[in-house]
Structures are given as structure tokens and as C-alpha cells.
């Protein structure tokens, strides 16, 4: 609070004139609106003009409950509001001083502790002047001054006289102002409150004229100059509709009326459906007003529809869930394996029929069935305990074997239990599903498999042994074959060597015999000549044998060379007949030659073909006592083969001997004193030679009916 300089200067300048000073102060006080300022100025004035050293100015508050200091002088500055006395304390010196109409001397010592502070301290008394009260009112305040001099007392009395009505008026103004502000704030609060209500709220007079509206209602019913034409029309329409809804219904009763009201949304022109709730009440002035609340039924209707839809959906979902549950029950029951669902504490929540057979006691069941069910329960609980204590991988399956028993029959029932934990989306354990697989068959299969495996191993071992034996035998055979081959090669070599060794002395025998027969050593007697002839033929026979053996050993050793050349067959036949002629000449046999005309030339080993046919011819002559020997040559152009057939009218060969005669050293007559010469190697060699030339020798014969040996050869021998 600032001291007005304009006031102090005239006072200071005036000096002694109290009247001038009182006039200046009064002038100031008239213009002063502030109670505190007036009080302070008054004390300052007293100090200046009356010699006040200490002073306090108390004012009664608006509701006249307390007496509180408004200004002080001569003390330590502090909070004036603390210097306060309850007016109810009628015994208090200050309260008592206020009640009187005259000044009272008050000693600070008699005041309460709270008031006894600067400037109300010390022993010196204060003079308490009650302010003059306006007519019919209490004193509005108290002026305490010190020292108690006649001058101070006089001026204080003057001040109390003029300040009383002034202070009282200011107090009244203060009270009015406070009430107005409170009412304004309360109104703003109410306005804010009704504005927060989403439903439009209106207060109208009985004619429907708008008195008050909240923001929502204003949007529907109040137009401003800034609004567009369409919006103003919509608002005007809304006002008409609202008034029409209210008219005629207002006085039907004091209770609220409800009816539907169709309005237009000014912002977009869409329809809005409200429920109008109107109540007639008395306004502040006692006249009738209508409070109307509009509730947006459209939202409500939508909400109701939504709720109904949700309810319907809920019903459908519930039905689905129920059906699902039914299906699940059906599925679980239709599974042949027992299924149990347990809660996290191991209590069975659900089980299918096969599980019930194992874990529930049928009614009227004998005692042993109950015992078995209890045993099953115990086994299953033990398994579940393991599953529950296992805290590793939470989603993994748990597999274990449980030895259960069929309760009714008592048959052992080994099962494999597969348990899976059911977890909520938050990962909490909800339950455990366990399926029991009957292991009886599996165990039997395992046992059979083991037996089978054992048998198979045994078999394998035997096969292994047999294989080893086979390998050993094979090795033995291979060695034997090798030995045989070596032996055969040795034999062939031996035979070749032997034939060489035989020939050397035979050469001398033949040579000397020949020379003797030629008369190199002079003419011989006829008997000696005959004997020498025998030596010669025997030596030649021996040579033939040696040559045959040599041939066989050559063929077997694969050392018989084949020389292929082209030659006419007819010429060969002529040559053959010429060679046999000397033999035939000694018999009564006739030789026939039948060679097909236009024979193509042959390409083969001429010497070998000749050797074979010569052998056949000599045999025929040898074994035919009488009749004829015929050689027939034919050509088959389909097979491109030439056939040389030698037929005789001889003794013939029995069927059982027909194959044997091609073996080594065999004649049909195997007796030691056989009638026919020859080593019996001829046919054997012939057959081997025919094979070398790609051909074969066949025989048609019967005892006493003669024989036909046929050599069949490819015309051209592939080289």
C-alpha cells in the first residue's frame, strides 16, 4: 500500500492548523475505496498531527464473528491478520471495548497472548475508541492509540466518529461483492456442468422461448450470424418442432413428460430422433419454466440393436461351443484308447468310456474290482506326479509305461501313457491330457521280433558258415581245375615227347626194313621177305597209332593248326577213292561214287576233311565183309553246308553202341580178341576234327543193315 504523496505535502506544509489537516484527511478518505488503506492512512495521520506513537486499527469482519487488525503503527511489521479476536469472547477487553459507545483504556497486559505483541506491548495503556456505529447497527471497528494524551484522544475520537459509517459501508460493499462473485462462479459451474451433459438440455418459458441451453442444445437451437443459411433454417425448424412438442402438453402434470421428437442435425441435415423429457417447474422469479432434456434415442436404438445382435451372437457362439463340446465328447468316447483330462492338481476332469472302464468302479462290482481300480488310480497318479514335477520343456510330451490291470478280468494291461500339458495363452498350466496305448500287442510283437531276430541271426550265421565253406570248396575246385589243367598240359607234352621218342627208333626199323626189302643187302629168301613184310606192316601200324595219339594230344592242347583254303570237293573225292582203292582191291566190295553236279567249291582245312572222310571210308571197308561202300556228296544251299556221307552194307551198329563208338579207344566190339584191327581212335579223332571245322558226324545204323556215317560241314569255315 503506497502512501499518497499529494496528501502528505499539504499536511506537512500546513504545520499547526488542525482544521486544515482534518479537511485534507476527510477529503482523502472520501475518495478511498480500500478499507485497509483508509485505516492505515488514519493511523499515519494521527502520528503526524496528534503525536501518536503506537496504534492499531481493528475492523469487524463481514459476518461479525471476529475482530481483526486492518492496520498498525509504531510496531514491528508483521502479519496483521494474526491480531484477531473472536467476538464470541465477550469478556475480552477488546470485545468489551467494542460494545461500549465510549473510549476505554486498555492495558496490553490484560490482553491474550496472541495479541500481546508489537505494537501492543509494554505496560503503557492504550485508549480504545469504538468506531461510531450507523443507526441500528453495531460498531464496525475499534481504534487503539498510545500515548493517551488529550491531543491523541481528541483526534482519535474525531476519527472514530467520521470513520464509523465509512467503514460500515465499505464492509457492506465487500460482503455484496463477495456474494456476487460466489453466485457468478456457481453459475459458471452449473453452466459447465450442464454443458458436459451430452444430451441437449433447455430451459424455456411456458411459451417455449429459450431461457437457457447447454452447449449441445445451443448447437441444435441457437443460430449465430456466422452460420450458413442452411444451418439457420435447420435451427429455425428445430425451434418450431420443439415448441410444437411442448405446446399443449405442459400443464398436464408436474411429473416429467416423455415423447419422441424428430429434429434435424444442423451440421449435415440428417434426421435425429430424441426422446423429449420435459418438466414444469418454478423459475427464480416464481413464474413457471420448462426444463427439457433431449435424449438421443438414435444412439440408444443403435445400442439396443447392438446389444441384441451381441446377444444373438453370444447365443450362436454358445451353441457352437456346446456343439463343439458334444463333438469332442463324441470323439473322445469313440477313441478306443483311454483318454483322461486332469486339472493341474491331478484331479480327473474328463475321461472317455475306455478310461472309465479302468478308473471307475461299476455299481455292484465285487471287492477285487475296487482294489484293481484303486491300483490303477495309484499307478496313474504316480505317472501324473512325474509329469507335473517335470519342468523342463513345458510343451513336450511325456511318455511313460504303466502296468495297469483290467478291473473286471484282472488281466494285466501294460500301457504306454502319453501326456501333454495344456497351457493357457499366458503359459499357465490348465490341465493335462493323457492317452493310454495298450502295449500288450506291441510287447508281444517285440517278443516275436526278438525271436525272429534271433532266428534270423542263427540263419545268417549258418549262411555265413555255408558261404565260407562254399568259398573254401570253390578255392579247392579252382586249385583242382588248375592242377587238372596242368596235368592235362603235362599229359599233352608227355604224349608229344613220347611220340617223338617213339618215332626215332621206328624210323630206323622202317628204314632198314625198306632197304632190306629193296635188296640193298642182297637178294633175300622168300620166307625172309614175307617176315620182313610183317615187320614192315607192324611198324607202320605202330606209326599210325603214334600219329593218332599225337593228333589227339595236339587237339586237346589246342595246338592243332587249321589251314583254310578253297578247293573243289569232287577232286578231293577222287583223291580219297584212289587212296582207298588198294584196300578195296583186296576185297570183293564195290565202291560207288555219287557227287552232286555243280557243287560249289569248299573253303575249309582240306587235309582235315580228307583225314575224316578217309577214316570213314577205311572203317567202312574194314567192317563190310561183302556188298558195297558208297560215298555221296550233297550241298544244302539253305544252310550252305556240304554233306559227305559214307554208307556200307556191313555189320551195322546197335543203338546202344552208336554213341560209344565215338569215344577214345573204342570199337563196337570191346572184347580183347576183337576181329577188326585198328586202335579205335579213328572216329574219336574224326569227331574232334569235325568239331574244329564247325561240323559234326552223325550215324544211322542197325545191326546187320549196314551203317551210314555223315560228315556235315559248313561250306565256308569262318576264320
Amino acid at each position: 500500500m503506497s502512501r499518497p504523496v499529494a496528501l502528505r505535502l499539504p499536511i506537512g506544509a500546513a504545520g499547526g492548523s488542525v482544521t486544515e489537516a482534518r479537511l485534507a484527511l476527510a477529503e482523502f478518505l472520501i475518495g478511498c475505496d480500500s478499507l485497509a488503506e483508509c485505516a492505515q492512512w488514519s493511523l499515519d495521520w494521527l502520528a503526524e498531527h496528534a503525536g501518536l506513537r503506537r496504534g492499531l486499527f481493528f475492523v469487524v469482519d463481514r459476518d461479525r464473528s471476529r475482530l481483526t487488525a486492518a492496520a498498525s503503527y509504531g510496531g514491528v511489521p508483521g502479519s496483521l491478520s494474526r491480531l484477531s479476536v473472536d467476538l464470541g469472547q465477550t469478556e475480552h477487553a477488546l470485545v468489551a471495548a467494542l460494545q461500549r459507545r465510549t473510549p476505554t483504556e486498555v492495558s496490553p497486559a490484560t490482553l491474550g497472548g496472541r495479541l500481546r505483541r508489537s505494537p501492543l506491548s509494554g505496560q503503557a495503556p492504550f485508549l480504545a475508541w469504538p468506531l461510531r456505529a450507523p443507526a441500528g447497527q453495531e460498531s464496525p471497528g475499534l481504534l487503539l492509540v498510545n500515548p493517551v494524551t488529550p491531543e491523541v484522544s481528541r483526534e482519535a475520537g474525531w476519527l472514530a466518529e467520521i470513520l464509523g459509517p465509512k467503514i460500515a459501508r465499505q464492509l457492506t460493499l465487500q460482503a455484496l461483492d463477495a456474494t456476487r462473485r460466489r453466485l457468478e462462479s456457481e453459475l459458471a459451474l452449473v453452466q459447465a456442468m450442464i454443458n458436459t451433459v451430452p444430451d441437449p438440455i433447455l430451459l424455456t418459458d411456458v411459451e417455449g422461448r429459450l431461457v437457457m441451453a447447454n452447449a449441445r442444445a445451443e448447437a441444435l437451437f441457437v443460430a449465430t450470424e456466422q452460420d450458413s443459411e442452411g444451418r439457420r433454417r435447420a435451427i429455425a425448424l428445430n425451434n418450431m418442432l420443439f415448441s410444437a412438442a411442448l405446446t399443449g402438453r405442459v400443464f398436464q402434470g408436474a411429473e416429467a413428460l416423455r415423447r419422441e421428437l424428430l429434429l434435424v442435425d444442423p451440421s449435415d441435415g440428417s434426421d435425429l430422433i430424441f426422446e423429449l423429457i420435459s418438466t414444469v417447474t418454478h423459475g427464480p422469479g416464481g413464474d413457471l419454466v420448462i426444463v427439457a432434456v433431449l435424449r438421443n434415442v438414435m444412439d440408444l436404438r443403435n445400442a439396443v440393436e447392438e446389444i441384441e445382435e451381441n446377444y444373438r451372437r453370444l447365443g450362436a457362439v454358445e451353441a457352437d461351443v456346446r456343439a463343439e463340446r458334444d463333438r469332442l465328447d463324441l470323439v473322445i468316447d469313440s477313441v478306443a484308447d483311454p483318454i483322461l483330462v486332469t486339472d493341474p492338481n491331478g484331479a480327473i476332469v474328463l475321461m472317455n468310456v475306455p478310461a472309465e472302464r479302468l478308473f471307475t468302479v461299476p455299481p455292484d462290482a465285487p471287492g477285487e474290482v475296487q482294489v484293481r481300480v484303486q491300483a490303477n488310480d495309484a499307478h496313474f497318479s504316480s505317472f501324473l506326479a512325474n509329469v507335473l514335477t517335470f519342468t523342463g520343456d513345458r510343451s513336450s510330451r511325456h511318455v511313460g509305461r504303466i502296468g495297469l490291470v483290467e478291473p473286471v478280468s484282472g488281466r494285466p494291461l501294460p500301457v504306454e501313457a502319453v501326456a501333454g500339458k495344456v497351457l493357457s495363452q499366458q503359459g499357465a498350466l490348465i490341465g493335462i491330457v493323457t492317452i493310454l496305448h495298450d502295449q500288450t500287442e506291441a510287447l508281444e510283437r517285440e517278443r516275436l521280433y526278438a525271436e525272429l531276430k534271433q532266428a534270423s541271426e542263427l540263419l545268417e550265421e549258418r549262411v555265413r558258415q555255408a558261404t565260407a565253406e562254399l568259398v573254401r570248396q570253390n578255392e579247392l575246385l579252382r586249385r583242382q581245375a588248375l592242377q587238372l589243367e596242368q596235368a592235362s598240359a603235362l599229359k599233352s607234352q608227355f604224349l608229344a615227347n613220347m611220340s617223338h621218342e617213339f618215332r626215332t627208333p621206328l624210323n630206323a626199323i622202317l628204314g632198314y626194313t625198306s632197304m632190306l626189302l629193296q635188296g640193298v643187302a642182297g637178294e633175300l629168301p622168300p620166307a625172309a621177305r614175307r617176315h620182313l613184310g610183317r615187320v614192315d606192316s607192324s611198324a607202320r601200324h605202330l606209326l599210325a597209332l603214334i600219329n593218332d595219339i599225337l593228333d589227339i594230344s595236339r587237339i586237346e592242347a589246342g595246338k592243332m593248326p587249321v589251314h583254310v583254303a578253297k578247293f573243289p570237293v569232287a577232286d578231293l573225292v577222287t583223291e580219297l577213292l584212289a587212296e582207298v582203292e588198294p584196300l578195296v582191291a583186296r576185297t570183293s566190295l564195290t565202291l560207288h561214287r555219287q557227287v552232286a553236279p555243280d557243287l560249289p567249291p569248299m573253303e575249309s582245312d582240306r587235309a582235315k576233311v580228307k583225314q575224316i572222310v578217309l577214316n570213314l571210308l577205311t572203317n567202312a571197308v574194314k567192317f563190310t565183309p561183302q556188298g558195297s561202300v558208297t560215298i555221296r556228296v550233297t550241298y544244302d544251299d539253305e544252310t550252305d553246308r556240304i554233306r559227305l556221307a559214307v554208307s556200307d552194307t556191313g555189320i551195322g551198329i546197335s543203338p546202344e553202341d552208336q554213341q560209344r563208338i565215338f569215344d577214345d579207344f573204342t570199337q563196337a566190339d570191346a572184347s580183347p580178341t576183337r576181329a577188326y584191327g585198328g586202335a579205335g581212335l579213328g572216329l574219336s579223332i574224326s569227331r574232334r576234327l569235325a568239331a574244329m571245322l564247325g561240323g559234326e558226324i552223325t550215324l544211322e545204323s542197325a545191326p546187320g543193315r549196314g551203317s551210314t556215317f555223315t560228315l556235315s560241314l559248313p561250306r565256308v569255315l569262318a576264320r
Binding site: 608229344a496 611220340s499 617223338h500 621218342e501 618215332r503 626215332t504 627208333p505 621206328l506 624210323n507 630206323a508 622202317l510 628204314g511 632198314y512 625198306s514 632197304m515 629193296q518 640193298v520 606209326l543 600219329n547 599225337l550 595236339r554 595246338k559 593248326p561
Partner: protein, 151 residues
């Protein structure tokens, strides 16, 4: 190798024969009976004959007498017939003399080996004396005796 049935050998004896103008045949064979049989027959029909019992002797006789034809057994002691023939055919003095191989081995490989060694003909035992004589005559007719050696 053939056993010697008799201990005698005339292989080192000088050529025998009626006239020195007749062709000289060198008979090489370790088997004395055969060698002497052929020698007897060839002499009988008019050839001059020299004999040798192995390859080394054959070479010595050939260089000494320059025969008109040599009948060479192939399986011989000391030096075999193939080697002896090769040496004869390598030597300037004896290269032109025809060699008739005579063997009792009838297998194919023998005649082939004999031709490769330089033999001009190949005869297999048993071979009668008259057959050998025919072979010798045939050889002489295709290999005329050089005038220088005849003198």
C-alpha cells in the same frame, strides 16, 4: 636227347663214296642207327656221305668238306640243329649249301623255327631212305653245285 644205343660213331671219319665227282651229303644225327642207315642207303645209290653226331661236329665237317647238301637233325647234343644252321647260314663259306631239316618232332612250331634258322627244306621222321634221297635230289636240282667246290 636220344640215347645212343651203340657206343660207336663214324661222324669223324672222312667222306665215303665211289667217286669224288658225286655230290657230297653231310648227315648230321646223334642217333647212330638212323645216321648209318641213311649213310648206307645214300652210298648205295651213289652219293658221297660225311657224318656228324652234333652241331659242333657238323660245323667243323661243313667248313672242312664243303658238302653239296646237309641233312640236319634238329635235336642234337652240344649244339642243336637250329644254332648250327644259323651259323652255317651266317658264314660266307657255307651260306650257299642247302640244309634239309630232319626231325621226329611233328608239331607245327618245329618247321617254323627251322625255316627261321635258315633251313631250305623240312622232312619229318619217319622218313624212308628212298624218300630222303628223293628230297636230296630235289634240293640239288634247285641248288646247283658250284663248279669251284666240285674241283
Amino acid at each position: 636227347m636220344s640215347p645212343r644205343s651203340r657206343g660207336r660213331t663214324d661222324a669223324a671219319s672222312p667222306p665215303t663214296g665211289a667217286r669224288s665227282a658225286e655230290p657230297l651229303v653231310l648227315l648230321v644225327d646223334d642217333y647212330a642207327d638212323n645216321r648209318e642207315m641213311y649213310a648206307l642207303y645214300l652210298t648205295h645209290i651213289g652219293f658221297r656221305v660225311a657224318e656228324a653226331a652234333n652241331g659242333e661236329e657238323a660245323l667243323a665237317k661243313a667248313f672242312e668238306h664243303r658238302p653239296d647238301v646237309i641233312v640236319m637233325d634238329l635235336s642234337l647234343p652240344v649244339m642243336d640243329g637250329w644254332e648250327a644252321t644259323r651259323r652255317l647260314k651266317r658264314d660266307q663259306r657255307t651260306r650257299a649249301i642247302p640244309v634239309i631239316a630232319l626231325t621226329s618232332h611233328a608239331l607245327e612250331g618245329f618247321s617254323q623255327g627251322a625255316r627261321e634258322a635258315g633251313c631250305d627244306a623240312f622232312v619229318t621222321k619217319p622218313c624212308l631212305p628212298e624218300q630222303l634221297a628223293a628230297e636230296i635230289r630235289k634240293m640239288l636240282s634247285t641248288h646247283p653245285t658250284p663248279a669251284s667246290r666240285r674241283s
